[in-house]
């Protein structure tokens, strides 16, 4: 129960932050990505502001054995940069630029995003559903090329 409450609080604060920062405003997101247009630097402040408390949290986590609710803290980050990381990030970035929504803001803005926001969310969920099959396919293709 407490675990779900913590998740609800974290999700709620995350959503409030996305709204306040402008991440749910697709014009702002595309304005930040549009370095050859009327560039909007706001998102640099969002990312910087978000990284600060999280860097402190990782530091505290490195000196603790367990989280407050008793479960283990995440294992150290894996180092390998692989094909899927790069291919997936390129695909994600292209979609992000095209419409200006990433997964968090797509959920956070659902109450006012209109039909466009709803269609985006459904397409994103469909993409997540086919992702495991897509991953298998590119592994096969890569093996065939090699």
């Amino acid at each position: 129960m407490l675990r779900n409450l913590f998740a609800l609080i974290a999700g709620g604060l995350f959503g409030a932050g996305l709204l306040v920062s402008g991440m749910t405003n697709t014009h702002k997101v595309q304005g930040w990505l549009d370095i050859f247009g009327d560039w909007d630097p706001t998102l640099a402040f969002v990312l910087g502001g978000a990284i600060l408390p999280m860097a402190v949290a990782w530091n505290i986590a490195s000196r603790r054995a367990k989280a407050v609710l008793g479960n283990p803290l995440p294992a150290p980050a894996r180092g390998e940069v692989d094909r899927n990381l790069i291919l997936g990030s390129l695909m994600f970035g292209a979609g992000w630029g095209l419409v200006g929504l990433c997964p968090g803001p797509a959920i956070a803005s659902i109450s006012w995003g209109g039909i466009g926001g709803a269609v985006f969310l459904v397409a994103m969920l469909a993409g997540m559903m086919i992702a495991p099959a897509f991953r298998e396919r590119i592994t096969l293709i890569a093996a065939a090329i090699r």
Binding site: G12, D34, G37, T42, I51, N84, G97, I107
Partner: protein, 142 residues
Amino acid sequence: MPMDWIWGLVGGLMIGTAAAFYLLGSGRIMGASGIIGGLVDRTGWSTWAERVAFLAGLALVPALLKPLYTVPVETGVTSNLAAIVAAGLLVGVGTRIANGCTSGHGVCGISRLSLRGMVATVFYLLAGGLAVIVFRHLFGVI
């Protein structure tokens, strides 16, 4: 607006505080695509209630705050349906293949100096910038 960067910073600090709370409180990495994706492909089914609670907060709190918010925050999703569907599919498949999005790789990854997080962020920013250049300035679709 000239004050936008302050709101960006304040909102960013809120996002980072949420991620810090989730890490130290629950031992979880606050990555939106992972939390959603684990429900969609059932790989995270054992923790479904926690995921649903997170997403409920994520959808409900902005819905409640929006009417109180005086700064215009319209979500101006394009009316080009093909672009919306293509973008949604790309974001859905891409974040799952890469195992993270802006929150997981960007916020949680970079803040622990994870190489994967930093590389992912460089590549999705590059692709995002390129998509805006191509589809806004070359084709004028968005």
